[in-house]
Amino acid sequence: MSDSAKTTEPLLRVENLVKWFPITQGIVFQRHVGDVKAVDGVSFELYPGETLGLVGESGCGKSTVARTLLRLEQYTGGAAYYKGQDIFQLDPGEMRKLRRNIQIIFQDPYASLNPRMTVGDIVMEPWEIHSDVVLKSQRRERAKQLLDRVGLNPDYLNRYPHQFSGGQRQRIGVARALALNPEIIICDEPVSALDVSVQAQVINLLDELQDEFNLSYIFIAHDLSVVRHISDRVGVMYLGKIIEMGNDRDIYEHAVHPYTQALLSAVPLPDPTKRDKRDRILLEGDLPSPSDPPSGCNFRTRCWKAEDRCAEEEPDLIDRFDHGHPSACFFAEPRTAVL
């Protein structure tokens, strides 16, 4: 899919996105003492109908990318072009219009639905805000169709979110995101709060909807096997940067960045026969603080390949082996892993 997609124009082009959260001290007179560099120069493209996975451990900035793209957080630097328009430069009216095209599904199905609103109110709220999308008289009917499409009983319209289980709530969240017929849906850990058995239901639903409505997904998750299943291309993030990017094979079978390799080797596989056959890379230490990232390559403090050069110079995210498989490591090299 990604190969054919690349011949077309990207739907979304993110260039050098930066999001720093200021650290301040003092109550009345706040003093700026530093920044948490949550996202520190991320670039990628999203093509129509494609799923781009973003993986990484907590604190790598993957959710901040999502929130900044939706302007739920104020951007610090960079640009994000949706069909040529920089999202960050839109005035409020234009931004409101654009929101019809980019929607989000949240991680926590308990926190993402207003407990005081009925399912019907939640699903129809997008049409109250963008009142020209669906005529008032048709909204209930359309809401029922939407519920039916995401696999919920349409008669549930008058119920409250807490009357549903986690998986069902997540379906309500999907219905809300679909209501405005968006082109892009950002899925921020959409299945990580769900039980395994229910998780697969939601993944299938997202897959079906993508084909049916020609959606593009930015799929953010920490579960590498889920991301592999759903994504056409995958970006691996570490401390606010993408350190390797490629298609499913590039990342999961021919990873070249040491962090990607360590991450993959740490994933517990649901297959006891591979228990002793795997060549584990156990990373030492913890993630450095994003308010004070290491100089040069920010992975060098935990990297077994690090040399002096890594502390002085930051490696660019460029093609080092295959075409379309960029990595940010001076010493990138393929390594076969048992998966």
Binding site: V28, L70, I104, S112, L113, N114, P115, I129, N153, Q163
Partner: protein, 315 residues
Amino acid sequence: MSSEPGTQAPQPADTGDVSAGAATGGGELREAGLWKDAWRQLRRNPLFLASSFTIAVFGLMAAFPRLFLWFYPGNSSPRSCSLSNSVGRPSATAWFGFDLQGCDYYTQVVYGAKVSMIVGIATVIVAGSIAVVFGSLAGYYGGNIDTLISRITDIWFGIPLILGAIVFLNAIGERGLFQVTLVLVAFSWMTMLRLMRSATIEKRDADFVDAARALGASTSRIIIKHILPNAIAPVIVYGTIFVGIVISVEATLSFLGVGLQLPAITWGLMINSSFRRILQVPHLLIFPGVFLSIVVLAFIVMGDALRDALDPRLR
């Protein structure tokens, strides 16, 4: 999650699961939401039932004093007094006896409910509205708006309710219901504002608020539809308790001679004119005192019951 009281009940200890509480198999109807859940609990709480009954009785007394007088064998007109009855003892025809001016004391005490209830409820409604509006604005916007509102609140907080009221009421010549209420409002909005502000801050970053923002919802829509209904419970609880406190403060002010003035009929004034004769005519102190205590207690108990019902952490 804090607003989801019931969902965790079915598996209190199974905290290991991220989606704990998925107890509603097949989406069947089990719980009905914070307010309906609270109502279920309140319905069975004898303290709540007793206090709401008491408040209802005093509410009726304030609105329709004649309801409590039509069957009364004594003099049911509060303004027709006869000095010949001065400080008469309670009897079958004058249940609570007579006061100094020879007015029927039962009738007086019944008419006294009006001021207490109006001052208490009106003060809390007006102060609560101020608190909800500015508290949610401060909490939602944060930054300079928050700093401004919060600092003003802090400074205002430094003035105790009774002291502030005494100072201001002393400065006013004519002290009617309106003036007393206004002064009480001026010194009683701060705690409710702080409660509203912190509840708003807690909900402001909730995912469902972000979802609304991502849909392009206006700020007023976000505050009114998404934050307010989820953040107002603590203010309601505190406000209920505060009605009782305001009523007692009003009585205190009247007692001290800086509240309502004669010929207004209030429990505070009754206590004021009787306390020097407590040994000779104790009933003049006891009857308004007891009524006052019952009303204050009823509001405080009701607020407590509401808090138990609305605070998920106590379930």
